[in-house]
Assembly symmetry: C2
Homo-oligomer: 207 residues x 2
């Protein structure tokens, strides 16, 4: 398959190498195709590098530029009508601060505001209870993501979470609820809207 | 440990039963403690049920009411200053429509707007590329979450995602990027802010 990749950095470069290894033809579309690192990447993948518009004839186009460059990269690529465009980006704010869109607050933080002085820990919100029961029975492995601002409270809750069969994963401060709540909704979405059913669970592999 | 649970529905009931089985003393705090189902639950767990304020002496209090009831439940529970309060809720909109807070748009949908007519699929955005390389080498198992509005485009991209070593998980329409982007940021957060490092990957267990 002819695969065009907008961007030849960490994401574009890795995807290009992995896909080239599977026999696909790679074209990188970048602002400065003449740069040595990009020429090297093109050689390595047996592909080519050119301006963004050069990817227009690919069957699949992968968008792999920083979020701030997305509008320019897409404008430079020209008309992509009918094309398969894979968005591999995230709308990241600089400095790992978060996402530029959505998730700027959370239920967990709202709870903390409503219960002033309480040591709030977000936990057990990530999967259906019917599923948790199966996890507790050892029938399904699942991570128990939790977060909070009080270390001792989180330690205690983490042990309780472990007792319900989940493998605890400390996700840091309470503001991490901005991610754990969407993760929980992804679980709901996959189980009940996509139709996978409730016998699913997220597990964080470490290796 | 004395554990108070605000709410005795699906979430509160399941957590109460699981924790009672591990030897903890459970107190349910509910609006209508006299209801038969709640009395039965209290008996089943060897615990008790009473008004929300009755959980105030517990060492750990679990908030397990519907999102709309959170303000009332917390107000009725009284002063929780210094208490460990576990938020097991999600700020859900009715009808599984999504979250009431945050995640009301996504980078994926913005990309679709910027590339009119393109068949946008969100994919490969969920883990670091150094990690993807290890996944592709068979050293770590990871799911490849993807979403998009064009079924044929998604099928094609799903096969490519599989070729990079990820186990594809079709997450439905492009709007699911509202959850996949926070999931991706959770990966970043755990790897680089919490300090687990990049050798982590989310896997969706099915069982």
């Amino acid at each position: 398959m002819r695969i065009g990749i907008l961007g030849a950095g960490n994401v574009g470069g890795t995807l290009g190498r992995l896909l080239a290894r599977r026999g696909h033809t790679i074209a990188f579309g970048v602002r400065e195709p003449g740069r040595a690192a990009i020429a090297e990447l093109a050689t390595l993948t047996g592909g080519r590098a050119g301006p963004p518009a050069g990817v227009a004839d690919a069957e699949v186009i992968v968008l792999a530029v920083p979020w701030a460059s997305v509008p320019d990269a897409l404008a430079a690529a020209g008309d992509l009508s009918g094309k398969i465009l894979v968005d591999a980006t995230n709308p990241l704010l600089g400095g790992l601060r978060g996402l530029a869109l959505g998730t700027d607050r959370s239920g967990g933080e709202e709870v903390a505001r409503l219960a002033p002085g309480a040591r709030v820990v977000k936990a057990w919100n990530g999967l259906g209870m019917q599923t948790l029961a199966r996890v507790a029975a050892g029938e399904l492995a699942a991570s128990g993501f939790l977060c909070g601002d009080d270390a001792a409270a989180k330690q205690t809750v983490g042990e309780l979470v472990g007792e319900t069969g989940l493998v605890p994963v400390d996700c840091g401060p309470l503001s991490a609820a901005r991610m754990l709540e969407p993760l929980a909704f992804l679980w709901i979405h996959l189980a009940y809207r996509v139709g996978l059913g409730p016998n699913i669970a997220f597990f964080l592999h470490r290796g």
